[in-house]
Amino acid sequence: MSDSLVFLMGEFEARFPTDRQYARNHMWALPVDDRWRFGFAAYAVRLLQDVYFLDWTIDAPAQIHIKQEMGAIESKKAESTLYAPATGNILHFNEELLADPSAINVDKYGNGWLFEMQAVRDEFLAPEEYIEYLGEVWEVTQRTIKGQMNE
């Protein structure tokens, strides 16, 4: 793999390849021809750990707005609704992940890609900006996790 930047989540070194950009919802975005390919960045995968189940709540192709609800994920540690990382046209999903989502853990920056879309506006962050952003949200993330664990 190409060069990557590292963000420390506690002791854990989360790596972020510099060949792509990042969305604030912790997905990576890689330009492929005239479209963007998205997948989970190491930050999200670390929080989720083993992914057991992935489901999309829209059918592709579909016009979608940034932050619009588009799916759900269940893992060993967590569950979450998934939201669109950008505004645009979702072209197709990685169908193989529906039967077996383990590629998200095994190869998050490659075969574990989630979907491809034509993004109308690219509001993505450069790797350096994303690392900076992680510095801002890491505290909130820890509070969220601890807060819910203690409930």
């Binding site: 604030r24 919802n25 912790h26 999200a44 929080l47 989720l48 057991y52 189940f53 489901d55 999309w56 709540t57 829209i58 059918d59 579909a62 016009q63 979608i64 932050k67 619009q68 609800e69 588009m70 799916g71 759900a72 269940e74 540690k77 967590a78 569950e79 979450s80 609704t81 998934l82 939201y83 529906l98 077996d100 989502p101 383990s102 949200v137 909130v140 993330t141 969220t144 996790i145 819910q148 664990m149």
Partner: protein
Amino acid sequence: MPKRINVVLSQGQSNNPAKRKLEEDIVTALLMEVGIDVTVIPHLYDLAPDGTGMLALQGVSGNLVVHSWMYERAARWILDRNSIAGHCGVTLLTAEDEEDEDDETEQEQKDRVLDGRQLPNRKIYCIDLRSSKQAAEFVAEIKRIAAEEATQVVDLMNWVGGNAKPEQLERFAQPTNDTALGSQPPAAKPDSGPAELFRIEETGGRRWYPVIDYSRCTNCMECIDFCLFGVYGVDRVETILVEQPDNCRKGCPACSRVCPENAIIFPQHKTPAIAGADVAAGSMKIDLSRLFGAPEGTEDAFEVAARERDEQLVMAGRQAVGMDDLLARRQPSTVADSDKDELDSLIDELDDLNL
């Protein structure tokens, strides 16, 4: 003599190893028993109406115990929509609080669609696989049901004593004998023969459509008015039904929010009340939705329904309609104080106590 009991196990969509293991542990344990037929199917909700899985279930006669990773109501009414009907068997193995069943009997009496229906003379038990982590508990429950079914004679004794229930009189007047009408002739299988296992594979994709609980539905037609995608229709006697399930917009539960009786189930929705729970059960796992970009909002159910419908209309290249008159009229925020029911008043009083 005990009848053979048909056990169906609907596999989950998730690859959670704990769930997979529970499914297989139950099957393995049942195969050690006698008088049981076990059918393993892919996720019940995803089965095509004319697929091998549903056909196999339709071919099963007699009492049925169906295990799935869904709320009992969801499983029961999916089966019902596919002509696999029967009286609701009561399982003692449940993930939910039993208490709220009392609440329901206190509700005002309305005519439900189910009241006007005749059900085949058999019982269908639906069990939520989330009710226990122990395969042994499911096996014990199946044995309890088998024993219960073996002592059905008691009902008849009541009748002889002059206490016939309405459905018994009905059966006497019009014997249905539905249980003998399987697609295959009933095999001359010894009732106490060894357990048999049938595994059914089906490769259809995931589906998304509403399921109507006719024990709650009052045929009010709010859903058919609300849905602009032609999912709902009426049958020959003008009863609402899910006519075109695959017209439904994936992920959209909006009609369920506008149903006054909470009779519309989307078994895969993350909100328990929409997925068919009697009571909203708390989730055990951490919800990361806020971190992943969930909007913060204070919409009521009708506003959410209008927004969800608009999102689907826009995605389908159609015009958004927003909060139409039908919805606005029913919005609770517009209800005057005088229209409050007893529960509202009680809650207001509790609020005033300032505990």
